[in-house]
Amino acid sequence: MSTNNEWPLWEVFLRTKKGLNHKHVGSIHAADEEMAIENARDVYTRRNEGISIWVVESSHIHASSPSEQESLFDAANDKVYRHPTFYNIPDEVGHI
């Protein structure tokens, strides 16, 4: 049986309710974007898990690589002054 009829892979993002952002929930196969939304609805929202669906063809996603983790994210570690707890506020001032 041939495998060249395989439909492309799509990543599925759901907004669970108004006011929240779309969140990645998994992926599905579909021939085009319309079918991707229909399939995502059947597979990922059988119990009101979402009110809005985004689908993105997986091949269009660019991701950082785990090997870059240090160079990308460790630089933030020594910037403690970006956090509110770095600053001393006298007790008598109360909550700021």
Partner: protein, 315 residues
Amino acid sequence: MGEISLEEKFQNTIDKESKIEPKDWMPDGYRKNLIRQISQHAHSEIIGMLPEGNWITRAPSLMRKVSLLAKVQDEAGHGLYLYSAMETLGLSRDESLEQLITGKAKYSSIFNYPTISWADIGAIGWLVDGAAIVNQVALQRTSYGPYARAMVKICKEESFHQRQGFEIMTNLAKGTKEQKEMAQNALNRFWWPSLMMFGPSDKDSTHSDQSLKWKIKRMTNDELRQEFVNKTIPQVEFLGLTVPDPDLKLNKKTGQYEFGAINWEEFYNVIKGRGPCNKERIAARTKAQKEGEWVKAAAKAYSAKKINRRNTKAA
């Protein structure tokens, strides 16, 4: 201090209960082991639809029919969550389905037993989904991120499956004499195969040690099996039924139910393709794949045409 190897770093991540994600470095064996386990799990969800699907058109009431239909549809969803987790490891969906019909990949032996009465649908929801839940709850803590997330989603949906099965069993067990006999008969046939679902005994399990070290599995087959028996026997008693095991008894000291020897010869026979329904199940999958091929080709061609039209319009 020498530099630590990729393998050590990988094991450290796992020992810290942190997850492995698709693009992280992983040993080949870990990847292979996971592909085997996740695809086997996905195939079980898909094949598992067949014995239950057998009763959708013959359910005794409209309510039972919609429940069963919803349950079977969930199982399709479970298969799809799992295939997508598996694909992050590099095996394509089509290849994996091909391995199912050629017999290279396995699925749970329980689905090679027939569903000959309506009570079997109750027994499956109660026992087979019950056993699956014990297994899947433990797997929510598996070390591979996509697999663990699929398990969390699946576990949320399973509880309805087991409850609808138990309700069917309750109604039959508390019904007429004939209905109670049907329930007992289904329990007799599904009890031992349900215990076999947890796989070979720890002393004979080939993948166990490495899987536990890598935290692909979080509990051994025998531990899971024992947990299932402990949970289920009080339910059997509630129904006023008995399990087909003369050796079953509660050990008052340990609080555990001790049960008789499992017929492993039967288990290996069914795994090797000699169960009552192996041929039928694979034939159904092969037919679905063959007859669905033109639909896949047509949809793909239609999509290509649409993209083409869009591009010429834009030009």
